[in-house]
């Protein structure tokens, strides 16, 4: 009983003295998390993570909405979390995306229309200088 009592004292003191709680509200944003995607060839794509689909990621990049296939990806850095992921994207990334519930085709078309695009930019097209915007 003495040990248990001591345990309570110590844990309470340690809890009070060594940690403080900072607001997770900073994490609460309506957008998806900013990410840096490193491609197999070494190029990087930066943008907001919009959706994690069966085939890859949908990003809001500076120059438009883009799609990256999983086969092209080597690493994803979640900038605000300093968390780097190197696989298992479909399990790990949805909670960091703007639309973890997934989008319907109609909703994707609406987003593309807002961005003035007919289709998502593809990384191989960008590499060739042939954006489909």
């Amino acid at each position: 009983m003495k040990q248990a009592f001591l345990w309570v004292l110590i844990s309470a003191l340690l809890a009070g003295c060594t940690v403080h709680v900072i607001g997770p509200k900073n994490a609460l944003i309506p957008e998806g998390e900013p990410v840096v995607v490193t491609l197999a060839g070494g190029d990087q794509k930066e943008g907001e993570l919009l959706e994690v689909t069966d085939t890859g990621l949908i990003l809001q990049e500076h120059d438009g909405l883009s799609a990256v296939n999983y086969q092209e990806m080597r690493q994803v850095l979640l900038s605000r979390y300093s968390l780097s992921l190197s696989g298992d994207w479909q399990n790990k990334l949805p909670l960091y995306s703007r639309y973890p519930q997934g989008l319907t085709d109609g909703q994707r078309r609406q987003l593309l229309a807002e961005a003035g695009q007919n289709d998502f930019l593809r990384s191989y097209e960008k590499a060739k200088g042939q954006p489909s915007k």
Partner: protein, 527 residues
């Protein structure tokens, strides 16, 4: 008496806690047991997001409560494109596609160490990730031939507040190519936070065996003394417990039925002849055992599911209250653990308590008991009926010391270049605020470099670990939450034990059939 001491404790130290060390949420009213966990209605007090079916989102910085079929709170609603923002004080659950909340960061004061990553305890109805019925905690496999399940780590550390240490014996692992390989896996809808992992090699005298003790030490068992064993209901268990063959002793369901009506125990009683030459030496009792799924029913159906959507808040917020967490921890250990007692000539005297070890892997453990004075020793192992399965019992006299103990950290991760491997391995070396965070389906094969055993000795390997895990909410809990109108924050006590026993009687067979069939496949095809 206990309550009085606790109140005194906080009365004396509250000024110190609050004045000298920054902000913490302890307040005098929180330490009143009747005030703890008595929320008026289902609610989430941590920042949360409600993702809407139309692609919009509602942010609730201060959480929300559920009333009828609505989420109520101070919300900010954004449309699909996030260009339109309006205030929203209620959201129909029919509009909601997914819910998400954020656990709070912890930061060490006056330290440059980065904070623990924010935990997103997620519930996504459409993601298809929540098919598994039961959680587990990190599982560890040895990889000699067919992968073999060796251990489940810190299985009762179900939130950050319950973070704990574990020491598990590895019975199948072999030295190969200059070291040992272990696969560390997340096979359930959980997020694992692994703080530290090391492999411990113990070289001990030939002909002896080494086991972990309940307090995390290594105990060496010499010999294999004969004994007779009986259950509380009088069944002869001697031959059943003589071999570690996977055919364990389990309690008669008559006792579980009794437990559903009032607190009672089952026990195994050993009678051990003490040879004259062994008198005056300490006894060592070794056990191979694991939990049934009864404690899993307690966790999922009584602690979590019965709280509905409150479970999300409970895991993320309520269990941060150190007093509440302590009460649950102590209650769980005391009731769902296993007690070892020895006969002192007059009565059974407590010698050790074993924490629940989980339902997946067999767990080996040894306890050093006092010297046997007479010609016969009696040992009793007691527990809630059908909460444990006991596969093997060994008894020895004397407690030789290990000859060499080494603690080894993983140096490589199979299949990953050094730089990527380091991201996985670095958090595992120190007990600190840096965690390896793993998601369902994730696994890593760790390589621990080691030399061969000292000549003339035998080696036993152990994995020493520290961490906790967080359960993902399941879709059916969310649906059930809509029906909850009264606060049902979990309260430990005999009522919860009896309720668990009643549920266990009804679903035991179905749960055991489905248990092994619901693991999440590992990325990369590992099993």
């Amino acid at each position: 008496m206990k309550k009085g001491r606790i109140l005194l404790c906080f009365t004396l130290f509250l000024p110190l806690i609050t004045a000298g060390c920054g902000f913490y949420r302890i307040s005098p009213k929180e330490i009143e047991p009747e005030q703890i966990g008595s929320g008026p209605s289902p609610q989430v007090n941590t920042p949360a997001k409600a993702h809407l079916k139309d692609g919009g989102v509602v942010l609730f910085p201060d959480g929300f409560k559920v009333e009828g079929e609505r989420l109520l709170g101070k919300g900010e609603k954004y449309d699909l494109t996030r260009k339109s923002r309006t205030l929203a004080e209620e959201v129909s659950l029919n509009e909601v596609a997914a819910l998400e909340h954020y656990e709070k960061d912890l930061q060490v004061v006056e330290s440059t160490v980065t904070s623990v990553p924010v935990v997103a305890v997620g519930f996504i109805g459409a993601a298809g990730l929540l098919k598994a019925l039961f959680g587990s905690c990190p599982t560890v496999y040895s990889l000699e031939g067919e992968p073999r399940l060796e251990a489940e780590l810190f299985s009762h550390s179900i939130s950050r507040r319950f973070e704990g240490d574990d020491l598990d014996r590895l019975s199948e692992i072999k030295l190969r190519d200059g070291g040992y390989r272990l696969r560390l896996a997340n096979e359930a809808p959980e997020t694992h936070y692994i703080n530290r992992i090391s492999l411990e090699t113990v070289d001990h005298p030939a002909g002896t065996r080494a086991f972990p003790s309940p307090d995390g030490r290594i105990v060496v068992l010499a010999g294999d003394e004969p004994y007779t064993a009986r259950s509380r209901r009088g069944a002869d268990l001697t031959s059943r417990l003589a071999a570690a063959d996977g055919l364990p002793y389990r309690s008669d369901l008559v006792l579980v039925n009794d437990l559903a009506g009032g607190i009672t125990e089952d026990w195994i009683e050993l009678t051990v002849p003490v040879p004259t030459e062994e008198r005056g030496k300490p006894m060592v009792l070794a056990l191979r055992l694991r939990n049934t799924l009864m404690a899993t029913v307690l966790l999922y159906d009584v602690m979590l599911k019965a709280q509905g959507i409150n479970a999300l808040d409970w895991l993320g917020e309520e269990t941060r209250n150190p007093l509440y967490a302590w009460r649950i921890y102590r209650w769980f250990e005391r009731n769902y653990g296993l007690r070892v007692e020895y006969w002192d000539g007059d009565r059974f005297v407590p010698a050790a308590n074993l924490s629940p070890t989980g339902p997946i892997a067999w767990h080996d453990v040894a306890v050093v008991l006092p010297t046997a004075a007479g010609s016969e020793a009696r040992i009793r192992v007691s527990y809630l009926p059908d909460n444990w399965m006991v596969d093997w019992v060994g008894v020895g006299f004397g407690a030789p010391q290990p000859l060499a103990v080494r603690s080894i950290f993983a140096k490589r991760v199979d299949g990953l270049p050094a730089e990527e491997a380091e991201r996985i391995l670095a958090p595992l070396r120190m007990k600190d605020s840096d965690y390896l965070v793993t998601s369902p389906g994730e696994s890593h094969t760790l390589f621990f470099p080691a030399d061969p055993p000292t000549p003339g000795t035998e080696r036993t390997c152990f994995i020493r670990s520290r961490g906790f895990y967080v359960e993902w909410l399941r879709e059916d809990w969310f649906k059930d939450a809509m029906k909850v109108t009264e606060g049902t924050t979990f309260e430990p006590g005999d009522k919860a034990i009896m309720q668990t026993a009643r549920l266990w009687l009804g679903k035991k067979e179905a749960m055991e059939r489905m248990f092994t069939a619901t693991k999440i496949p590992l990325a990369g095809g590992g099993q």
